[in-house]
Assembly symmetry: C2
Homo-oligomer: 153 residues x 2
DNA sequence: TGCGCCATTTACGTTTACGTCAATTCTATA
DNA sequence: TATAGAATTGACGTAAACGTAAATGGCGCA
């Protein structure tokens, strides 16, 4: 019962640097809120994907960091590597049209889409192959008599 | 031009142990025939999946080894781990109905099938998500005017 | 002031299926 | 016999995304 009551009470004790109504979160809240582990958040930071502020040594995640994390998780979901995600995010320029970023993202997305489709094809293959093998095996188990090797060609 | 002419000429030089008309292959032939690398074949042996004979130190793969390799490759294709493949193959008993082996294979296959289907669902999700993001990005690139962040919720 | 909990840093471990040398030997052929 | 092309073993590297352990620090509260 020493928690900070789910992210409300945390923001008004000892903030001196930033002015606007912040909703800073510490690592534990972040982890719960986004379903990742503490280790993961530190790992992302280590990899240069997140840059939380520090209060002393305590990480404080801003609205920005949360947006970035969402992007990371989306990227991960669609199968980008963290390196790709970083590369794309590193191009983000708060003042500017971000055309380069968008082009890169689109480019990577097309490639990733192709990969995903290839993967899906492979999986479909595997599913079919496996289905075939399974019914063969079922047959062999049914005809409890002629034991032959399970693969011919 | 020092190859053994694709597996025909190799069998009648200095075999003394086995009698029947063998078609032994050395590692290079195997690799080509099955589209794997030498390293892979040695790796499989190291993991106990293959047990080629030796002529001195040279590996000689028999018909058996080829059948086993086919099984390994099939297993790999449908997404089994080498450990799984080994476990299943280790149950093979040349004299016997191999009921246990078949049951295990079927069991593992069912689980693997489930995994594959789950994977496919994930990939479909990813494809859809990616498709959505891509058209959003395309729009942003088209409306060369209002630069907003690419992800909202 | 001491307990309990949260947090931090550092570093090594895990998993899978090989790739990539490196050093050396073996073998076949010109 | 020299030499090129196989083959061998051994060891280290790779990729991704963290897990886990250990030692330590700081905070709130009874």
């Amino acid at each position: 019962m020493k928690l900070i009551s789910a992210g409300e009470t945390a923001a008004n004790t000892n903030n001196a640097s930033v002015e606007v109504g912040e909703d800073l979160s510490r690592i534990g809240e972040m982890a719960k809120k986004y379903g990742v582990t503490l280790r993961t958040l530190r790992f992302y930071e280590d990899k240069g994907l997140l840059h939380p502020q520090r209060d002393g040594s305590t990480r404080l995640y801003t609205r920005r960091d949360k947006a970035r994390l969402k992007l990371i998780l989306l990227g991960r979901k669609v199968g980008f590597s963290l390196r790709d995600v970083k590369q794309m995010m590193d191009l983000y320029d708060p003042k500017g049209s971000n055309t380069k970023q968008l082009r890169l993202a689109l480019d990577k997305s097309e490639k990733q889409l192709a990969r995903l489709q290839k993967q899906r094809a492979l999986i479909d293959d595997a599913i079919n192959e496996l289905g075939g093998s399974m019914s063969a095996v079922r047959q062999m188990l049914a005809e409890r008599s002629t034991p032959q090797a399970s693969v011919a060609s």
